[in-house]
């Protein structure tokens, strides 16, 4: 079994109800998995719609939704966020 850490940022963090596991600044969720798992599988498991996702990073590398994940990966998921 492997483990992936996920940080949902901004409004995505608020929308996913994971009581006790959420914190400020995109509190880290830890998800165990077995076999091959892609970014989009993780999003589906968390109930996050693809269309609400703007950018995804594994560590500091920007990845697409089909990126296959490995044990120990830290996934950061961002909705669109606009400055001004």
């Amino acid at each position: 079994m492997g483990m992936i850490s996920v940080r949902l940022h901004g409004v995505l963090n608020e929308r996913v109800q994971q009581a006790g596991d959420r914190g400020r600044a995109g509190g880290e969720l830890r998800l165990p998995f077995e076999g091959a798992v892609k970014v989009r599988d993780v999003l589906e498991r968390l109930g996050v719609s693809d269309k609400d996702v703007h950018l995804v990073f594994v560590g500091r590398k920007r990845v697409k939704l089909d990126e296959e994940l490995r044990d120990g990966d830290l996934l950061a998921v961002y909705p669109p966020m606009a400055g001004g």
Binding site: V11, R24, A25, G83
Partner: protein, 621 residues
């Protein structure tokens, strides 16, 4: 007064030298061809154009609304203040949300044209048809929060009257002085507060009882329902509602968008301490909205205790979190909130002010700036930054030099200081790094008001947040790449410039499509107006304002980027990247129809209905 078809049909002309107030008709041809906001303002400015210096009485100051302002269409609260900029010497435009624009329409005016200079400080009181100048002797010297509270109390209370006011920075002619609307919304860029100060106009108070009546009511209801729904369901809007513009800090550090240490570094460990989540969890008291806005991105904050205690008030936007945070390597969030409050009170553009302090810190580090009156300007020192904000507002000590803006200060300092300035045409760059997004670099370089992130839609298009595909843009632009960016910038301007002149907030427009805005204009004004018309209007308004800046002295050599931004960073998410400005400029000049010396070509001006501008440019050489 009822503003039928979106326009009151009249302007208030104020001659401060003679003390004469005149209600003048708005030329309907101007309204049709230049819509409103800064576009219409530029056309009116040209009517009075004399080449007058920015702080001279003859430099006109225009406060402009647009046809959508005062309706209940989403995000249509804005207004523009324009004039020749005392910071850049070129066309100056500052825009603002809040409540003043709608109230001015309700009082029955599309705009205010101010010329001359009062013998003593005054404020302008507009109460529907009743208009008068009153003494501001008792208000001069007060900050924006104070003068706003006094004038609201004097003229009907918090909700009844809307106030535009300058603080001490405007009075002291700080070249990047801002104007406050109800002490909560700010006309920040290009120093319009100093133009007000030069005219001894402390404030404008407006009360109106009219309304704006759309020409096509059924279409209006349909487009209103459609666009409100889009704003409510958009993720951009949801992020804004949740964390305001501060959310962009968290994303920006991952895309190379956030400038650090006067644009010389790509990494700063402190960003998580000063981003949206920290602001919300530790200092937010409530959200707030401009007139007729379902998004409500405003942050009301308070620092309860400690050395940076503030009253409850408007919180720092993303730009301010950068300029008083990452630009100077400061990770102290209450310190930034305090800096924001001081800038709001004194009336200073938080972008230019923080950027000028960052510039000064680098000058100090490099030994170019020595005569500081004993102040040590060290990176990360927010206490010194706070001291400098006050010194700038009151032009005390080293503040007198910095109050000139970074480029003017560098010219006085010499010794290579100009290489450390991060400005275009004298306007300090906002906090979006062109090394992460090359198209933004081209926007900055060719911007008619200098480095601008607001009078176009490139921020949203290039970052992939709204592709505006109906206007011919794409959803797959790579940020650190110059390929295809000239066309992207041109189309983004042709969308964003008319949005600015319609006075719709770009945060609302970022949730919509181009056609939605065209439909809004059609429903309110009643004239047939489609997406093609919107883009054609964008071309005309861009060329017009470009031409004004050319008349005020800008040439091709002013379309450039500062040395720091043309140097690749060694670290961070945009490391190794720098915009291919030469290539993008060549492509853009061709597409836009600019001649080699930087003026719009005569044939392009004539084709877009700007023949009168071609004549003026020819006269100017």
């Amino acid at each position: 007064m009822e503003c039928k078809g979106g326009y009151a049909g009249r302007l208030l002309e104020v001659d401060l030298t003679k003390g004469i107030l005149t209600k003048a008709p708005l030329d309907p041809t101007f309204a049709r061809e230049f819509l409103g906001g800064a576009g219409l303002g530029a056309r009116l400015f040209l009517e009075r154009f004399s080449g007058a210096l920015p702080l001279s009485p003859d430099n006109p100051l225009l406060v402009m609304t647009g046809p959508l302002v005062g309706t209940s269409l989403p995000g249509t609260s804005r207004f523009a203040v324009c004039s020749r900029s005392p910071l850049t010497g070129f066309w100056g435009v500052g825009t603002c949300g809040g409540n003043f624009g709608p109230e001015l329409k309700f009082a029955g005016y599309d705009g205010i044209e101010v010329t001359g200079k009062a013998a003593e400080p005054v404020y302008l009181l507009i109460d529907d048809d009743k208009v008068e100048l009153r003494t501001a002797d008792d208000l001069w010297g007060k900050d924006i929060y104070e003068v706003t509270a006094i004038l609201k109390q004097r003229h009907g209370g918090e909700r009844k009257s809307k106030v535009l006011a300058i603080g001490q920075a405007g009075e002291n002619l700080v070249r990047f002085a801002a104007i406050g609307n109800d002490g909560a919304h700010f006309v920040g860029r290009t120093g319009m507060g100093a133009v007000m100060g030069s005219k001894r106009l402390k404030a404008v108070v407006v009360k109106g009882t009219g309304r704006v009546v759309p020409a096509r009511p059924e279409e209006y209801e349909e487009v209103r329902a459609r666009t409100l729904e889009k704003c409510k369901t958009s993720m951009v809007a949801s992020s804004m509602k949740s964390m305001g513009t501060a959310a962009a800090m968290d994303l920006g550090v991952m895309t190379g968008d956030v400038p650090i240490r006067n644009w010389t570094c790509g990494e700063f460990a402190g960003t998580s301490s000063i981003g949206g989540p920290a602001l919300r969890s530790d200092y937010l008291t409530r959200g707030a909205a401009c007139f007729s806005c379902p998004i409500a991105c405003k942050r009301v904050v308070k620092v309860d205790e400690g050395p940076y205690q503030t009253q409850e008030g408007p919180g720092p936007e993303y730009e301010t979190l950068c300029t008083f945070g990452t630009y100077i390597e400061n990770d102290n969030l209450p310190g930034i909130i305090k800096a924001n409050e001081l800038c709001n009170r004194y009336g200073l553009d938080t972008i230019s002010c923080g950027a000028t302090i960052a510039f000064a810190m680098e000058c100090y580090e490099k030994g170019v700036l020595r005569d500081t009156g004993g102040i040590e300007l060290r990176w990360g020192d927010i206490d010194t930054a706070l001291k400098l904000v006050k010194f700038i507002a009151f032009r005390q000590g080293i503040g007198d030099l910095l109050a000139e803006g970074s480029l003017n200060a560098a010219r006085k300092l010499g010794q290579g200081a100009e290489d450390l300035v991060v400005a275009v045409k004298g306007l300090e760059l906002p906090a979006h790094d062109p090394r992460g997004f090359h198209g933004m670099g081209l926007e900055y370089a060719v911007g008619y008001r200098g480095a601008c992130h607001l009078q176009h839609m490139s921020l949203y298009v290039e970052q992939g947040m709204n592709p505006f595909t109906d206007a011919g843009l794409r959803s797959d632009y790579a940020g650190p790449d110059s390929e295809g960016k000239a066309e992207m910038v041109l189309l983004s301007q042709n969308l964003g410039v008319p949005a600015g002149s319609a006075c719709i907030c770009i945060f609302a427009f970022a949730c919509l499509e181009g056609k939605d805005l065209a439909d809004m204009i059609q429903a309110v004004t009643g004239r047939d107006f489609g997406l093609k018309d919107l883009l054609a209007l964008g071309e005309r308004l861009w060329l017009l304002q470009r031409g004004v800046t050319n008349l005020l002295g800008a040439r091709a050599e002013d379309d450039t980027l500062p040395p720091h931004v043309l140097s690749p960073l060694q670290d961070g998410m945009a490391a190794g990247s720098s915009p291919d400005l030469k290539r993008m400029l060549a492509e853009y000049y061709e597409l836009r129809g600019l001649a080699a010396h930087g003026y719009p070509r005569r044939d392009v001006l004539e084709k877009t209905g700007l023949g009168f501008l071609a004549e003026k440019l020819q006269d100017a050489g």
